[in-house]
Symmetry: C2
Subunit: 431 residues, 2 copies
């Protein structure tokens, strides 16, 4: 049986999971692939901390150069993260003719094009399944299973930390701060949760999905991103629920003609829909295509073993490709039709608005007339929770029909100037 050598860069949570998984299921992989996948080296600056998995000392090294460029190592697995040394080592491995498997979403979202070009030039594979969706094979599915489809849209719950926080807020009526604290206690949120709760993690993942689906690599720095911190209030979760919705942080990728929408925002989804049923740390992606129609992929979006599952699935593929001398199956498609980013103001969707309004005759009519003047049409209004009244203002929830975001924002700018309106109006999308 042909052997394929693997070296891992980064012996953190996921690195240890990959080592664990490769050890446990080496026989199973051999059964399935007819290839013996051999872990030859694991490099990390810290090789003394116990990672909960037994590795021979001869395998551990602090020297990344024993992995990168080592002719015994066919596949380099990059699990360092970030765009510093990780980028350098991935470049060097590709230059040396090694194939690379990575879970580094930031690296791909920011330097993907450069790395894919290099991989193509050198005729080696660069796989990145675990960069989006953890244990959910969403990348592989879009790339391969749906390759015969025109993809219309992808709606993703792509960050387990946010989904855990939103689930706790809904289930127990917690404030954001309390739910975040709970997530931190459970190990589901970092001490500095910025990347998660402010939406950047979801944004990086959305950019990767857009590249895969449309051959369109957006500059992540120009994309519209709204997280959940300081945006989603326990009140809004309660009102949404009263209307049959749950609030989820969604990555939204959608093509219409030559324009692609790539954005991240807290969004109302129907409570009894498949996306609405995704709770806790679980992630999911809902994909709409011309042939397959609606499909959904659900699982754990992070964590030691789920992420390792996807990394090992990539290793298996790359190993097969190397044995059969058939690399470059995974190419980021180059769109033949020019596509451009849809300006965020041009995006059409339904909207949830919570207006803080004086509880007097005629005030709602004033708000409605501003919306009407901007072409924003009201679908329904909810005013049920007078308990939330404060300072003579009551919250009114308005669900609009589909409207341009720019029109809604222009209307809200005017509405928030009215003297019958109290605190700033909250706007969320609806899908």
């Amino acid at each position: 049986m042909r052997q394929i050598g693997v070296g891992i860069l980064g012996f953190g949570t996921v690195g240890a999971g990959v080592v664990d998984g490769l050890q446990r299921n080496r026989g199973k992989l051999a059964e399935r692939l007819d290839i013996d996948i051999v872990l030859r080296r694991v490099a990390d600056l810290d090789i003394s901390t116990d990672r909960g998995v037994a590795v021979e000392m001869s395998v551990l090294t602090t020297d990344a150069r024993l992995v990168v460029g080592n002719p015994q190592i066919d596949i380099v697995v990059e699990l360092i993260g970030g765009c510093g040394i990780a980028r350098q080592l991935v470049r060097e491995a590709l230059e040396a003719g090694q194939s690379v498997v990575t879970a580094n979403k930031k690296l791909l979202a920011e330097h993907g094009s450069e790395l894919f070009e290099l991989a193509e030039k050198k005729g080696v594979d660069l796989y990145f399944g675990a960069s989006v969706g953890g244990g959910i094979p969403i990348i592989r599915t879009i790339r391969e299973a749906l390759s015969g489809n025109e993809i219309e849209s992808i709606l993703g719950i792509l960050n387990g930390t946010c989904n855990y926080i939103l689930t706790r807020m809904e289930a127990e009526g917690l404030s954001f701060d309390d739910a975040l604290a709970a997530a931190q206690m459970e190990g589901y949120a970092e001490a500095d949760p910025t990347l998660d709760v402010d939406g950047y993690d979801t944004l990086h993942k959305s950019a990767i999905l857009a590249a895969l689906a449309y051959g369109f690599t957006p500059d992540v720095h120009t994309l519209s991103v709204t997280g959940i911190r300081g945006v989603v209030d326990a009140k809004d979760i309660r009102y949404a629920k009263a209307l049959g919705f749950r609030i989820k942080l969604l990555g939204i990728i959608r093509r219409q003609g030559g324009e692609v929408e790539v954005r991240v925002e807290p969004t109302l989804v129907a409570e009894d829909s498949m996306l609405g049923s995704v709770n806790g740390v679980f992630n999911a992606a809902l994909v709409e295509c011309d042939l397959a129609g609606t499909t959904l992929y659900y699982g754990r979006g992070a964590g030691r073993l789920p992420t390792a599952s996807t990394v090992i699935g990539d290793i298996a593929d790359v190993a097969f490709n190397r044995v059969h001398n058939a690399p470059l199956k995974v190419i980021i498609p180059k769109s033949r039709v020019p596509v451009r980013l849809k300006p965020s103001g041009e995006v059409q969707s339904r909207h949830y608005l919570r207006v803080s309004i004086k509880d007097e005759v005629g005030t709602m009519a004033k708000v409605a007339s501003v919306l009407a003047a901007k072409g924003v049409s009201i679908a329904s209004v909810l005013q049920q929770d007078i308990a939330d009244a404060s300072g003579g203002f009551v919250p009114i929830v308005i669900l609009t029909h589909k409207a341009r975001k720019a029109d809604v924002e222009a209307a809200l700018a005017e509405i928030d100037q009215l003297d019958i309106v109290g605190q700033r109006t909250v706007r969320l999308g609806i899908e």
Copy 2:
């Protein structure tokens, strides 16, 4: 750009969908694969009926031999169905060195081993993604994405007809007959619905999943199959709902040690679970693995374009494999550990029992003591719907803890003999 020639056998619903999809998205496939996939021939005995898709007359033929063995055709797509001429043509195509893509679950479930051996001998591919799950890439996922995992279980809602019927029964309180009639009117059920409603379609699909997951090819004729016709009553759907469950026809594939459970039966699943949220004609498979944990795949399990999506995904893979001379990626794994079918009586699960019992003091105690004598422990009892009482008998619903099916059946055989018990006790599984 390298061309790969495709020929289709069978110009029915799915055949026409594949033609449609290949025509629509030929450019997109070329973008993604760097291969031009060319439809060269479509063979069917009937080439005069309008299939809703335009095909050049020079492509249509009534002669299957212009597809099978045609050196211009690299990939033969078999969409005839059944085990007669389809089996013969698939064999001939493989013998001739053509790769085969098929959606024929019956052929694979009954003759898979023989065909895979032949494909391996000839060094060509035999792909079968659309044989299970229609537009859901469940086969590809188990085969590739989860290849680094030990698969613990697969629970599948694999038949859209049954799920549609059960959904209508629950949502509208319809009887089975009325819901079946509705499904037939909508085109979701055949005039003779036996294969669907009696569970055989789900059984064939479950057998294929077992082979993929465990390298274990059960003889489908020895498997335990219970459908929904004559088994699931509107009453049971109502009681299940009152207890927070929905009834779904599940294909259940599970390994414990050297034994694999492969069976089909109507089963209670929690209403707010992901499987419980799968309604209408949609299908889903819930997979439990050692690394990925819980994942779920959801979509349309049948239909012209969803099935075509998966067939075309297979064509794309096989085309890539041919261009790169790397066939046989998809092998049904051969288990190194001997596995055997778990006898259906040995299967452990929770059970739902509806006992028709005399409304007298002490009758419940008698039923409970029979269950206890067989080691079946009661988790909860529901008696709420006296409206269903008839002839002095009232329905009592008992949910058991985990118990061997043989023990439950032995208990029920005794219970049904008691003079305090009216009609035969209904038993369903719970997952």
